[in-house]
Amino acid sequence: MLKRTTQVAVTAGAMVLAAGTAIADPYEPYRGQTLVANFPAHPHYTAVMQVLSDFTEETGIEVEVDLLQYLKMREKQTLELTKNSGDYDLIAYVVFSKADYVYADQLENLAKYFMNPRLADPDYDAEDLIDGYVGNIGIAGGEKGYLPGPTGSLFGIPFGSETSILGYRKDIFDKHDLKVPETYDELLELACLIPELEPGMGGLASRAASGHHASHAFLLHLAPLGGRIFDENWEPIVNNEAGVAAAEALKTFVDCGPEGAQTFGFAEAGASFLQGQTAMFLDSTVFAGQVNDPEKSKVVGLVEWAPHPMGVRRGSQTGGFGIAIPKNAENKEAAFLLMQWLTSKHADKLIALAGGNPSRYSTHADAEVNKVYPHMATFGEALEYADPDWRPIIPVWGKINADLGTALSKVLTEDLDIQEALDGVAERTRAVMDEAGYYTWQ
């Protein structure tokens, strides 16, 4: 009898304990819910897929992922977000979608979630998130409308973000006793010196294909060389001295680049570096994961990384993806919990170890992460100069971007005069901006 009583007491005690933990579990009310996330097919999200099961295990919230090629993803989201009740609880979005989605009022303002004590994790440490990324991808409504500022607020959190970084062939640099370029002058000189030292090898792999690729490559150089697309009053200044210098730099890189560089997209530029046909690579950090993959790369172990060289200032690109909760999502609170978990210090590290792009300074500095990916510390340094305003994030940017890319392609392939090309871009850009109402108050 006594034995039985003890047994009952123990069971009751265990139940009380279990109930106790249940109260302390912020995920409890959402246990058993299923979230639908829309992610791009992208190396970062491949890594994310590997840690999602940890989230389910920890919280009891199931996650289904709809994985799409990133342009397809954007198209699908555009339709999905206009519906009354959407299928997605959490979406990853490309940075230029911020302008479209926020402007169309399709994303949840995150303030009410971070204000909710039942949802917000006090150990989240938002200070640790990379400033350039948060400003570029997460915040809207401040300066210029698309940047942080007194009137801005948070709509998304960077997740799978990228900056630009210089990759170089250590073996080639050692062989000819070359110095890793720190400024644009050095970079330009080296880019054309290498084909002379190593016949058949291109200096710097750059994208240049007509349209988005050419424009992207140009913008990479524009910010460090001191340029911008618009001045403070939205007047196009892309055709000023800095703009011309950036276009000249692009032309030099392409002319001294590997054969056929005029039509390279991101993939081709990367491939030419991986195949050992080019000595340097200046583009997004997302590329770094492939360099030491023997299936894709012939330069395993030969590549080192340095920050994006400096022109008149430092300014590396910011881009990639963020995650946000659509206005028409069904399980918004659980989606916030997933979002918070994914971008927490803990998950950021897990994802980095699985090959993703971390969004936190602490992960870049983490010893364990650096042991697996020695370049992470360099990337962390480069991130301090990540420029959230290296390219405007406004709804009409798609059109201006395409025009800029076409004009630059003509410079690269048809020998169109640079000043003339950029003057044309500036003039057409002004017309686009005028029609979009940017000069209403002038």
């Binding site: 007509s210 349209g211 054969e259 056929g260 005029q262 395409a402 076409t406 392609s409 690269l412 392939t413």
Partner: protein, 304 residues
């Protein structure tokens, strides 16, 4: 009275389902597109939220250099490809319209390119045109020639795209022309042979004129298709370098997805539609005129 009305109504009752299908399946989407072309509509808005701007999209397009250039590229591309394909396709058909051993296999091989998915065709050609590892440039270099900037030079790029299209679509003309050839009245050909017509004379005076109605329809179908070709060029050049291969269909696609201007894209499609309509009507009128002339000639011959 009731029965008579019913009797009169019968044909309409039978026509009704077809008419309903036409309205739902054909007129509604076209009407939707025409309506959209008068709107300033971006894909983040529902169509009801878009602003009505009348003819502004159409007017702006006429002043848009990029649109005009792409219209010009389209016309150039379509006219060159269709002429080349007609020439080659009909030529091949004339050559292969005979009893040689294995001709059936040969014919099947000839129409293979047409059956490959356009994206694959684009990729295939892109790799063949690759500046360093592509088969063309490697062969040229092996033979001691300078490599050609197939896709990276504005002038070459259009030529390269045309070559790929001709490769893919000549078979289409070929099978239709072959079918037309084989259904020609044997009596006319026999009469020509008995009259001592040479092979060339048979082709020029008998076969081609008799095939003409089919050839015209074939050319028209190809032309319509050539105006809308998208995937192959999208994969091969994405319109570049510059705008040298940006045909209208690609421009429409980019306007809708990249520039997010659905109204402008709709207006562009309508311009394309109008252009094709003009071409079709012109072909139709030409057909009518030649038929009328033939009928007149026949009448005269019968009288005489």
């Amino acid at each position: 009275m009731g029965a008579i009305t019913l009797g009169r109504m019968t044909p309409y009752v039978f026509l009704a389902p077809a008419a309903a299908f036409m309205i739902v399946g054909l007129l509604y989407p076209i009407g939707y597109m025409v309506y959209a072309s008068f709107l300033d509509w971006n894909p983040s808005q529902r169509i009801g939220e878009a602003e009505w701007i009348g003819l502004r999209n159409y007017v702006n397009l006429l002043q848009d250099d990029a649109f005009r250039e792409s219209m010009f590229v389209t016309l150039k591309f379509a006219s060159i490809v269709v002429s080349l394909e007609m020439l080659l396709g009909v030529g091949l058909a004339l050559l292969l319209d005979r009893e040689i051993r294995g001709v059936a296999v040969l014919r099947t091989i000839f129409i293979l390119p047409m059956m490959i998915a356009p994206i694959v065709v684009g990729l295939m050609w892109r790799y063949m045109y690759h500046p360093t590892v592509g088969i063309f440039n490697r062969t040229l270099e092996d033979w001691g020639f300078q490599p050609i900037p197939w896709l990276s030079d504005a002038n070459w790029a259009l030529t390269s795209v045309i070559i790929a299209d001709v490769w893919q679509w000549t078979p289409f003309i070929f099978i239709l022309a072959l079918a037309a050839l084989q259904s020609l009245p044997r009596s006319a050909l026999e009469a020509a042979r008995i009259d001592g017509a040479s092979a060339w004379q048979q082709i020029i005076y008998v076969k081609l004129p008799l095939m003409m109605p089919v050839l015209i329809v074939t050319a028209l179908l190809r032309l319509i298709d050539a105006f809308k070709v998208l995937e192959v060029i999208l994969v091969m050049t994405n319109g570049g370098p510059g705008l040298s291969t940006e045909i209208l269909a690609l421009r429409v696609y980019r306007t809708a997805s990249e520039f997010r201007e659905l109204g402008v894209a709709a207006a562009m499609s309508n311009y394309l539609l109008m252009l094709l309509l003009v071409l079709t009507v012109a072909m139709f009128i030409y057909n009518k005129v030649t038929e009328a002339r033939a009928a007149r000639l026949r009448q005269m011959a019968e009288k005489g």
